[in-house]
Symmetry: C3
């Protein structure tokens, strides 16, 4: 593929400085880009060494205007986002053939929009509705009464169970389970009696769910993943959880039942949240943190159990000094006793 | 669906106070129930505000007898368990059509009881035996020589490998793997030599295994999940582990090889247990706890590594004060040195 | 099956002491072996009580030569490895029928070596190449342009996505996902824009990947699992990670994006590694450790955040004494104030 720098600038809503006719043949990272490639530099770390990249052109931020650069540049508001758009030009997402494979097994009363693609050995229950351009990759199982919007992409070996509702432009990666029963049992003396889970999982627009996730249906009502949420791999979300708009759950995070998480949050890898807590908007949770109390809006917390991140930074620097502290205390005690 | 309060009382082995002929049309949580719904109240928190629920009737405990309540009540021993039974009346578990889908692929010498339901693209190896009313949902794979009892329910995309034995009334949620090889390798200087795993996984009656679990077969003998065990999602159970009767493993718990866990235990989310330990009966393990020593019967432990829970509560309250403690020690040292 | 002790000795490159003609009918662990079984004893713990095993013969190390033992023995360099070889004699890995099941769905331009075994409901994309004796178990999905070497064994319900490359003698356990998109999103003010992942996962020879793993493809280039790596169950490996030769990742370990791990390492269960770190060769990481800094060659680290293991051992023994330390400090302060 060949495209001029001017055409790239147009696609990313940027402005060319240098040779607008220069031919670009690929997009690559700063360190590996060749003379026909375009790359990007956003932070000062990369902008300072901009002449070190082998790239033929660089996407740069607006504040770079004053600097000198021998290469062609495209000036944009957000270089990383512009670079992503450039990547989509050179590596367009493969559009699967729109067809329903004869080896799929489809239930009664199936409704679907245009250009759907359903792979072999996909199983679709009764009364399922899919929007336009939905892709169900091989060996995926969709339960009864599931509804999906447009442009949903489901990877192989996914399970989406009865009555779950999926919005527009949702991606669900391989091996994930949506709508399994919540973990609820009533203790009856010796044994546990299973609590029926009559609710659903609702996933709003522009959500991306990673591989190997498990998202349980609500006991009553909805487990609700709101617009723009992104989950990494092996994330567990229990029954009746709400995850707010554009919140990010990194790999192996576990959210217990009936937790509410606000919008624009980040829960780092392997963090865990105890049941029934409320995590506010714009909250950041450190890796492996264990939340046992609710967290107000805007806080950054770390540790297990959690504390404010700044305090935790001081605490964890002291931890390795505990042997020294213990020793010093013993010496001081000795000194004091000698004084008396 | 419509049913009288008297009929509900009969089904849950309870006694009506109030209008026994009242028509009930659903079961719902305390906060959301409407005037045709029944709900339940067990703890004093809910019993105190019993008139706040919009429910038309409430299931209450025996000690509620003396209280006044304007609504119809059903008096029972265990309100939560009675409510679960009521839920089962209004939301009966969907009984799948008993049939063997022509798109299933079934091996030699298959034996099965009455009313089995086998979905499309299920694969069953040779010499498999299923009891009555077993449900194998789509895209599940069953290895050779697997034996299952009655009323087993296997959700989609599950893998159960050769020779594993499943008891009666067992539920296995979507995406789970039963009988993968244990993680055993003999170091041979530079490399590792794989240790064959000749054992099986044995799952006793009334067990429920969550979604996305991995339960490894034994090197020799059995990995043994005893009667009534419940596991949440993404739980890992290694080779040769024994989990005792009615023990609960919450989401993302990991149990290393050859661990023995007693009965009636609870391991909270993301807890981990090191290899070859013995965890006694009635043990409670806190979330994210890391067990490196065996735990006697009846203990409650927390922390990583673990300590008695009460001690851990004191320790973790002191942790955020470490900077203060360090400062105080330095000041004290100064004072003492000035005294000398 | 029956085989003489002499034949076993020959197979494991060992030397018989005692009755070389003795008939052996099985291989079993030290505690459970019967009089027709062979077992092994390597550490002094077992060698001291060698007469306690019911086994008819014992595989022992070379330094056992001087000891007396009434049983037949086979003297070898590495008893555990020799015992594994003996196990393979009595419990040979089932060689699946070499055939392509008519219920598999295979894409265009499929190339494959001799004796491949492809199960029912396997889906293979276009331009896939498999070596000799590759086994793809039921309901596994292989994307376009995947290349596998010889003697690869893929268990059921596995997903291996486009362009991934698998070496020789690789085993991938059930439910694992190879080649899902990395978790990369460019923040665009309110929302996140997905970063296309154009790279692959490359898995070298003699690797074993556990059940329920998720290994993401690189943004550019390769996520690279080098020769001899072994991963346990539910391990997460993010985009652009490199795992060095013969390194072992225990269950539920999580490796963030762009981490490089050296060779001959061990990461114990539930450990996590933050993004972009470099872990050297021969590094050991404790269970539940949380790595936030790079680790040089040969180090052993524990804790979250990590510290040298020996220091951590001292720290964690002091943690339960914190209440005592706090109390002692308060008393000392009182004493000092009384002195002034």
């Amino acid at each position: 593929m060949e495209i001029s720098l001017a055409e790239i600038a147009k696609a990313v809503d940027g402005e060319v400085r240098g040779d607008a006719d220069k031919t670009i043949r690929g997009a690559a990272p700063f360190e590996n880009a060749g003379c026909d490639d375009i790359t990007y530099a956003s932070g000062s770390k990369f902008l300072k060494k901009i002449d070190k990249t082998g790239a033929g052109a660089v996407i740069v931020p607006q504040n770079f205007l004053s600097h000198a650069c021998s290469k062609g540049t495209v000036i944009v508001k957000n270089p990383q986002v512009a670079f992503v758009k450039t990547l989509e030009i050179f590596y367009p997402a493969s559009a699967p053939e729109s067809s329903i494979n004869p080896n799929a097994c489809i239930g009664k009363n199936f409704k679907f929009g245009k250009d759907v693609s359903i792979g072999p050995f996909v199983v679709i229950g009764d009364n399922v509705t899919l929007g336009d351009r939905v892709t169900l990759q091989p060996n995926t199982v969709i339960g009864d009464n599931v509804v999906m919007g447009n442009d949903v992409r489901v990877w192989p070996n996914v399970t989406i169970l009865d009555r779950c509702r999926i919005g527009d432009r949702v991606t669900i990666h391989a091996g994930t389970v949506i709508g399994s029963d919540g973990f609820g049992f009533a203790p009856d003396g010796e044994k546990y009696v299973k609590i029926p889970h009559t609710g659903i999982v609702r996933i709003d627009d522009d959500v991306e769910i990673g591989a190997g996730n498990t998202i349980d249906r609500a006991t009553f009502g909805e487990t609700w993943i709101k617009t723009g949420v992104k989950t990494d791999n092996l994330v567990h979300i229990a029954h009746n959880v709400t995850v707010g708009e554009n919140t990010v759950l990194v790999a192996q995070v576990g959210i217990s039942g009936s937790v509410t998480i606000g919008k624009h949050g980040v829960l780092a890898g392997q963090a865990g949240v105890s049941g029934h807590l409320t995590i506010g908007d714009n909250v950041t949770v450190g890796p492996q943190a264990g939340l046992v109390k609710s967290v107000p809006d805007g806080e950054t917390v770390s540790g297990s159990p959690e504390m404010p991140h700044r305090l935790w930074l001081r605490v964890y620097r002291i931890l390795p000094k505990l042997p020294e502290i213990k020793k010093k205390l013993a010496e001081l005690e000795k000194k004091v006793n000698a004084l008396r």
